[in-house]
């Protein structure tokens, strides 16, 4: 197992470098000067602007800029946002927890829905339960998250008035009330993201269980006299989960996209909305830092998925 992990880690590092290279290249190729706005700002004299450019090495050759940038990124020195007048890392650390909390909660919701529904649907394929569940899954992942979010707001906030549709990071109530308010405002974005994920995961779980349940070793398990429930829960699920874990990990990059959209709809102050604001306001250091952080997160989660995969499948670790 140690060998396997080491190999995955050794692949992760060049991947991170590769991503950083791509990011940097994109930004370097882009036309426009990050300090264009400052040029029109009467409060910043020309010499200051030129000095700033020199200090950030904007006139150095590209490869030097890349190494310099990479170095500062890895050291945690993510620069300063002129637009918000705040250190970029402070800004990111302020916003990251909310995004992670919402994404985390939605993943848990998705698992809690997709696993049992997928397994039940596969155990009785083409039954009425399966047909309904599969059709709902199709409906689920054909509804873009922004539409579902909008629909939820229409129904639960506007028509029924049950839930607020503007997210507040600073809830004044304390204790029990704080939790209630938090849940009330988080439930819609979490549900939007979670149900969307659950829809596609349910199909994966179902197809994986269907594949495994016809295999020979499942017959062997039955021939031992195990009850069908034990056969499915013990023998089938463990094997069926293996490819599902990989698929979930592969979908992680999309999840951040979904978070961006939900944060816009529900006006949640997370990383996603930070990115959009930064793009629209030409705030380059923030844009670079956020994309880098998101990419790093994806790689870290992929590594985690590899660990779980290695734990689930002994053929990987015991070769």
């Amino acid at each position: 197992m140690g060998n396997y992990l080491l190999r995955r880690l050794l692949i992760a590092v060049p991947s991170l470098l590769g991503i950083s290279l791509i990011l940097f290249t994109v930004l370097a190729l882009a036309p426009g000067d990050p300090f264009e706005d400052l040029a029109t700002n009467p409060n910043v004299p020309a010499e200051v602007r030129l000095a700033l450019r020199a200090s950030l090495g904007l006139d150095d050759p590209v490869w030097q800029r890349y190494l310099h940038w990479l170095g500062s990124m890895l050291q945690g020195n993510w620069g300063f946002s002129f637009v918000s007048r705040i250190d970029v890392d402070t800004l990111i650390w302020q916003r990251l927890p909310v995004t992670i909390a919402i994404i985390g909660a939605s993943q848990i919701l998705a698992l809690m829905v997709a696993l049992p529904v997928g397994i039940l649907a596969a155990v009785k394929p083409y039954s009425w339960f399966d047909r309904i569940a599969s059709t709902m899954a199709f409906v689920g992942f054909s509804l873009p998250t922004f539409f579902t979010g909008v629909l939820f707001i229409l129904v639960f906030s506007i028509e029924l008035g049950w839930l607020p549709f503007v997210f507040r990071a600073d809830i004044s109530e304390t204790g029990w009330q704080w939790w209630v308010e938090q849940i009330k405002q988080s439930i819609m974005p979490v549900a939007v993201l979670g149900l969307f994920q659950a829809a596609s995961w349910m199909r994966y779980v179902r197809s994986s269980v269907l594949d495994v349940i016809r295999l020979d070793y499942v017959s062997t398990a039955r021939s031992k006299g195990l009850a069908e429930r034990a056969v499915v829960m013990k023998h089938v699920v463990r094997n069926a989960l293996i490819p599902v874990v990989t698929l979930i990990a592969l979908q992680l990059p999309q999840l951040f996209g979904g978070a961006i959209v939900t944060e816009q709809i529900f006006r949640i102050p997370g990383i996603g909305s930070l990115l959009i604001d930064a793009i629209l306001r030409n705030d380059t250091p923030v844009v670079m830092a956020v994309t880098f952080v998101l990419s790093a997160l994806v790689i870290i989660f992929n590594l985690l998925a590899d660990v779980v995969y290695g734990w689930l499948d002994p053929r990987i670790s015991y070769t």
Partner: protein
């Protein structure tokens, strides 16, 4: 995948009918009722979007303050927006763009994916490993953030190069398609791996067929099945991606009424005019749903392992 030999509790049986592979595939497709009906619904939708503006000659930018925020009626079947513009005309127009973007992005993704997958699949050793590493790298990129970034950075350049609409269209299509080639490449590579060891390819090799001939005449046709299914997923993903971009304000220019854009415009009037967001949303939903069902039907029809 954990094991691939199915338990042989049911005896083998030969099908008494003998149809050409395409006819057989069509027969299997028709059995998937949802897919079959989806084909008709999508067909109607496409026809409507293509021919509708020829019949329904209301302009997409006809401002009429008298009729602003009007609910659906005979005059304006889908209602109007805050400037009194007819929503049906705008939705029809947006449909053309969405479908065009979907198809074009899918073509790019499939072309790039098949080429890279085929090269990786037929070569061994370092070339395959290198291509796979690049594929995995692209798969790890967070798509939406980068999409936003790329569009934001290169919008001006492309507008200057190709003109406003064409430029943005090219940018969006290339960028969206550029993020969807990876699953296709992996699929094609996997198919190549399993097919190139098969006996009929070896037979062709023994008869002196060159590598490229083996690939084009023998392997590719058999690898097509999953690629077709992947293509339908690509169209659907591209449509959603374009709508999402428009919804976030970073898609086509604001005056072009793509479905995502109409939703974006209607967001602030949800309480007064819910139909404004409902109709474009439904349009996206129905298009994507039908394509999903068709893709599922195709998977059933083209997968030789399934006995239906």
């Amino acid at each position: 995948m954990a094991g691939s030999t199915p338990a042989s509790a049911t005896p083998e049986r030969a099908s008494p009918r003998s149809l050409t592979p395409w006819a057989e595939a069509w027969r299997r497709f028709k059995r998937h009722r949802l897919a079959y009906w989806s084909l008709w619904v999508l067909g109607l939708l496409v026809l409507g979007v293509l021919l509708g503006p020829l019949v329904y000659k209301v302009g997409i930018n006809d401002i009429d303050f008298q009729a602003r925020l009007a609910p659906p009626s005979w005059k304006h079947p889908l209602g109007t927006d805050d400037l009194g513009r007819d929503l049906l005309a705008r939705v029809l127009y947006g449909g053309r763009i969405s479908l065009a973007v979907g198809m074009a992005a899918m073509l790019i993704a499939i072309t790039v994916g098949v080429i890279i997958g085929a090269i990786a699949g037929i070569s061994r050793g370092w070339l395959d490993a290198a291509l796979m590493w690049v594929t995995d790298l692209f798969l790890s990129l967070p798509q939406l953030p980068l999409l936003l970034l790329l569009i934001f950075l290169f919008r001006e350049t492309l507008k200057n190069l190709f003109g406003l609409e064409v430029g943005i269209f090219l940018l969006i299509v290339v960028v969206i398609g550029g993020f969807r080639w990876m699953p296709v490449a992996r699929l094609v590579r996997a198919q190549f791996f399993s097919l190139r060891e098969k006996e009929f390819v070896e037979a062709a090799r023994a008869l002196g067929a060159s590598t490229s001939r083996q690939v084009v005449r023998h392997i590719l046709p058999n690898a097509l099945g999953p690629v077709i299914v992947a293509a339908t997923i690509d169209v659907q993903a591209a449509i959603i991606a374009e709508s999402t971009l428009s919804f976030l304000g970073l898609g086509f220019p604001p005056d072009i009424p793509t479905w995502g854009r109409i939703l974006y415009d209607g967001r602030d009037y949800m309480d007064l005019a819910p139909y404004w967001v409902l109709f474009p949303g439904l349009a996206i939903f129905i298009t994507v749903l039908t394509i999903s069902f068709i893709g599922d039907g195709l998977r059933d029809a083209l997968d030789p392992r399934r006995v239906l």
